[in-house]
């Protein structure tokens, strides 16, 4: 739990934020939506998430393009299995390349483009019923922390977009940001994301209770 839930979620948040700094017009649209639904006088609550379709679309698009684990943990068959006309011998390791599935040009139009509109008001979800979008896998070996992971990403992203305006470091244009992935447990960005945060709400809106 400690091992599985921390890194993957943090990396997902980092990718989502860097995509939005990279595409300021999308950040603006997400913030407009937040202002309309939540306003500027109270924090985002979990009950708001259902009313934030554009934010949900951003999160799905981020899962499509940057799944925290690009290849699912290997599956293994205990006996010979036939798939289509092929025979898969027992003890074959099965690697499901969800990174490739998310970029399949036959399913996704302009697959390399970060475009949340493809999920805007669509009923595609990441719960494992759509086999073209499987950030948490599917079936009996699906990630049991699926709901928690999604909740943490939603909470984190909604809040930082609501509370701050984000921009790249001085002298870097949004389009010039480094968006290269590193190899690692959870394919993080190769260079850690460093950005400027400008508060956009009165300071009392977000205050820890303890």
């Amino acid at each position: 739990m400690i091992g599985g839930g921390t890194d993957t979620t943090a990396v997902t948040l980092e990718w989502a934020l860097s995509e939005l700094v990279h595409h300021p017009e999308m950040m603006e649209r997400a913030q407009d939506e937040l202002d309309k639904v939540v306003g500027k006088q109270r924090p985002v609550l979990e009950s708001d998430f259902a009313n934030l379709p554009y934010l949900q679309a951003i999160i799905k698009e981020n899962f499509r393009l940057h799944p925290a684990g690009p290849i699912l943990i290997p599956h293994v068959n205990t006996k010979d299995t036939h798939i289509m006309n092929y025979k898969i011998l027992a003890n074959t390791h099965v690697l499901v390349n969800i990174w490739a599935i998310g970029r399949d040009p036959e399913v996704w139009k302009n697959p390399l483009e970060f475009n949340p509109d493809r999920f805007y008001n669509s009923d595609i979800n990441v719960g494992g019923s759509n086999f073209n979008l499987l950030p948490f896998g599917s079936g009996r070996r699906q990630c049991p922390g699926l709901n928690l992971g999604q909740l943490m990403v939603q909470c984190g992203l909604a809040t930082i977009l609501h509370a701050f305006d984000w921009s790249p470091p001085p002298n870097v244009k949004p389009k010039d940001m480094n968006m290269i992935e590193a190899s690692g447990l959870a394919t993080p960005l190769i260079e850690p994301l460093v950005v400027i945060a400008k508060p956009r709400l009165p300071p009392q809106v977000y205050k820890p209770s303890i």
Partner: protein, 337 residues
């Protein structure tokens, strides 16, 4: 003399080639398409440091279901949604097990965690605990206040950097703090800092051991693919993992002891956190299982992400140079005498 040497050299080469053909070619008839497999290393040469990318490139040529032999292990790579459905839904029951890679044994406390344990009654029990006790929507909702609080901490942390005017903020540590505190509060009932105050070194070391473990998982273990090398533990990963397991066991059993005592250490929380739930289950679990569940490493793409062919290439380069040089010296030696 020199005839014998050359003769044996070629004979051994020829026989191994025959054995190779006899062993691997018949298998290939009904296998999914894939690139050529070299003896011993198989298709490892085709993979780069970002294996998901190399596999995607290969899949463009060989199709959405592709056969790769990596070392001595058969793999199939699935690269589109339709095939994923075949494996994860249609044949879900057949493909429900997990490979037993070497360090997994100690990392999962003898296969007692949910992500690596084989399909069976024990796994079903864990799955049940997860879906009815831990990660139910109702229980997640119970922790809504905690998440709200952590969100506020995160905002505070970001503004702290500002000091009047906007400054550059490095986001990775902040996100990490946010997710790890969320998880700590759900599991142990308090933030990391409080836990450290109450549980002292045990708690600190628990987190250090887990990040050490992640580091080891990040390394590609050559013995997983070439099992004959397993007893030698060339990279020392197995030994290191055993040490980490001991540390984890120590820390976690001390922590569990404190929680079992149930005195002031049990944090006043209106909602039950996971350690409490685990200790009060109807189906009593042994300590090893509880530990495994707590650590549970849904180690995404575990041993695969770092499977860089470069390591193998390195070994091969040295082996090759060794044979090449010895052969060359033998010849030089022969001509001089």
């Amino acid at each position: 003399m020199e005839f014998a040497f050359e003769f044996w050299f070629f004979l051994v080469g020829f026989v191994s080639l025959l054995l190779y053909l006899a062993w691997f070619v018949p298998k290939a008839k009904f296998q999914p398409p894939g690139p050529f497999n070299f003896p011993i290393v198989g298709s490892l040469f085709y993979l780069s440091k970002l294996p998901h990318r190399s596999m995607n490139e290969l899949a463009k040529k060989y199709g959405p279901i592709m056969y790769l032999r990596l070392g001595y292990i058969d793999h199939i790579v699935i690269s589109n949604g339709e095939m994923a459905k075949e494996v994860l839904k249609v044949h879900d029951a057949d493909f429900g097990s997990r490979p037993r890679f070497i360090i997994g044994k100690d990392a999962s406390f003898d296969w007692s965690d949910i992500s690596l344990s084989p399909c069976g009654d024990y796994w079903r029990l864990l799955r049940k605990i997860c879906s009815t006790e831990f990660l139910t929507q109702a229980r997640l909702n119970n922790f809504q206040c905690e998440r709200q609080d952590e969100v506020a901490y995160m905002v505070e942390e970001i503004t702290k950097h500002n000091q009047g005017r906007p400054q550059l903020v490095e986001m990775r540590p902040i996100f990490h703090e946010f997710t790890s505190n969320n998880i700590c509060r759900m599991m142990f009932g308090a933030r990391r800092k409080e836990l450290k105050n109450h549980l002292g070194n045990n708690f600190d070391d628990l987190f250090n051991s887990i990040s050490d473990m992640v580091e080891i998982f990040n390394k590609f273990n050559i013995s997983d693919l070439i099992p004959i090398l397993k007893p030698f533990d060339l990279q020392g990963l197995e030994r290191r993992m055993k040490c980490i397991r001991n540390r984890l066991e120590n820390n976690l059993s001390n922590i569990l002891k404190e929680y079992r005592k149930g005195n002031k250490l049990v944090f006043d929380s209106t909602v039950k956190y996971f350690v409490q739930v685990l200790l009060n289950l109807d189906e009593k679990l042994d300590d090893a299982s509880i530990m495994a569940i707590l650590v549970v490493c849904a180690f995404y793409s575990t041993y695969f992400n770092k499977m860089c062919a470069s390591y193998i290439l390195y070994i091969y380069h040295h082996l090759f140079m060794f044979f090449f040089l010895t052969h060359k010296y033998l010849l030089v030696f022969y001509y001089r005498t």
